[in-house]
């Protein structure tokens, strides 16, 4: 039997989990019993970090992760992902579907989770290159050939420093942690880019660096779910905003016909030899 066929046989009727399940009459999660060890004893953020790290977090770790969540609670339906949720809510899609729609759109290149994950890859790649003795300028030059817009740098909606970057860095220190290697690299890169191009780091840079550095030491693959947990609240509230304000049936952000600039073919008759 080929290894590929064998994989199907080996996994037939079998599920492997490192996270938990309802087993032996108990809801288990990362080695603890949810009803006995978590409920009423731990906060949601502590449960989240238990899931990501496989251990209970220290109070300072919980405070820092919690602070990152709070730093992102601003529902603004002008931002694309929240606009999607608002449109769905306005059309009376079920709440979970509107949320799902917004979450799908949240996986965007210019905002949301992609920049955090891409910045994580950028940090890991660059630090490997720096460890191999390649100068920072060369590392950044190579990265910019790969992608002219470095993930974690620049901000579409407002010029100047991203307040979430500066605040998240100061929160790190307030919680008693020193900037780790990832954040140090981001700061050096920021200095370099700001001097050269006037480009500032954004939330994605500090968030991914903080999550990759100690004390969290997440892997890049953990950045997607952790970033989702940190930043998903505004989507919920952008949807709820529309639901609560639907009383008067005001349509959400309607466009006029002339708001659309058409660039296609001019009017032409349908060919006589049509399909039907």
């Amino acid at each position: 039997m080929s290894p590929d066929k064998g994989r199907y046989h080996d996994n037939y009727d079998r599920i492997d989990s490192r996270h938990g399940g309802f087993l032996g009459g108990k809801a288990l999660f990362r080695g603890v019993v949810a009803a006995e060890d978590l409920a009423g004893k731990k906060t949601q953020t502590e449960a989240l970090l238990l899931g990501f790290m496989g251990r209970y977090p220290e109070p300072a770790e919980t405070r820092l992760f919690d602070a990152l969540i709070c730093l992102n609670v601003y529902p603004d339906p002008r931002i694309w992902t929240m606009r999607v949720g608002a449109y769905a809510a306005d059309g009376k899609s079920p709440f979970p579907s509107a949320y799902s729609a917004a979450l799908s759109a949240f996986n965007s290149r210019i905002y949301g989770t992609q920049p955090i994950v891409e910045c994580g890859h950028f940090i890991v790649r660059s630090m490997e290159a720096l460890a191999a003795g390649i100068p920072l300028a060369e590392v950044l030059s190579a990265e910019r050939k790969r992608n002219p817009v470095l993930p974690g740098f620049g901000r579409p909606v407002a010029p100047g420093p991203d307040e979430r970057f500066t605040k998240s860095v100061s929160l790190l220190e307030e919680c008693g942690f020193k900037p780790g290697p990832g954040l140090t690299f981001i700061r050096e890169t920021a200095t370099h880019l700001n001097d050269e191009k006037g480009i500032w780091p954004n939330y994605a840079a500090s968030f991914s660096a903080i999550l990759l550095d100690p004390p969290f030491s997440f892997t890049v693959s953990q950045l997607y779910p952790s970033a989702q947990c940190i930043a998903h609240l505004p989507l919920l509230f952008a949807i709820q905003d529309v639901v609560e304000n639907r009383r008067e049936r005001n349509p959400f952000l309607p466009l006029k016909v002339d708001d659309v600039r058409y660039t296609g073919s001019v009017f032409r008759p349908v060919p006589q030899s049509g399909e039907i």
């Binding site: 066929k5 694309w80 999607v84 449109y87 059309g91 799908s104 466009l255």
Partner: protein
Amino acid sequence: MKERARVTTAIWNEKAADDNPFYPRESYCCGYDYYGELLGRFSWTSLLYLQLRGELPDTRQAGFFDLMLSAVMNPGPRDPQNQSAMAAAVGGCPVGGSLMAGFGTSQGSREGGGAVEACMAMLDLLVAGEVVADRALLTERFGDGEDCPGFGLWFGEKDHRAPLVGNLIRSRGYPDRRLSLLETLGDDLRLYGVFAAGLGDLGFTPRQGHGLFMISGGGGMLAFLCEQYSVHWSGFPHWFGYGEYRYEP
């Protein structure tokens, strides 16, 4: 009957290869050899009909079904479902996620799949004589706080597309029992109402109608969202700095 069946379906039947129980050597769709006989002889629309209704459509049914699906294929770039898909794509969300953004928007009970489902359920009961053809009562029971399903104004005007499609249905001699029923309830019929009536007359269930409305709209959605990948994010309407934002906590 297989002894340890995990999945029950009347739509798809696979025959496993002798040496690999996971590999489908043959695939039958509603009894027909899908890759050996159906494929290449029937249109996508007819094969969709087969999977939902269990039988291949005759020429008339296929034409009617195709007309209904085509009627709701694209509500235009300003429609919320397309705006959602486009908003996702212009920000660099992958195609699948952008489609999901659009589909998440197109299933609502206000002019979406949910509204089609409600209209079809209402029509089924009307045809069965289980409810009275009274618009006020029907609105209260099926309207989810909106107009009677299938009715209402479109951007504040009567939906001119509805009678156009209704005329096409009749000019081709397609069944119009449910369409006629709707017409007795008011002259502000919406296009999705005609769609719901048509699908009901073709024998589809309300849930199938809900999904077919979404799937058909997915065609236009895909075209619009793919177009957005070549547009800069600042070229999309209502981005930051555009218009008025009223915040009253």
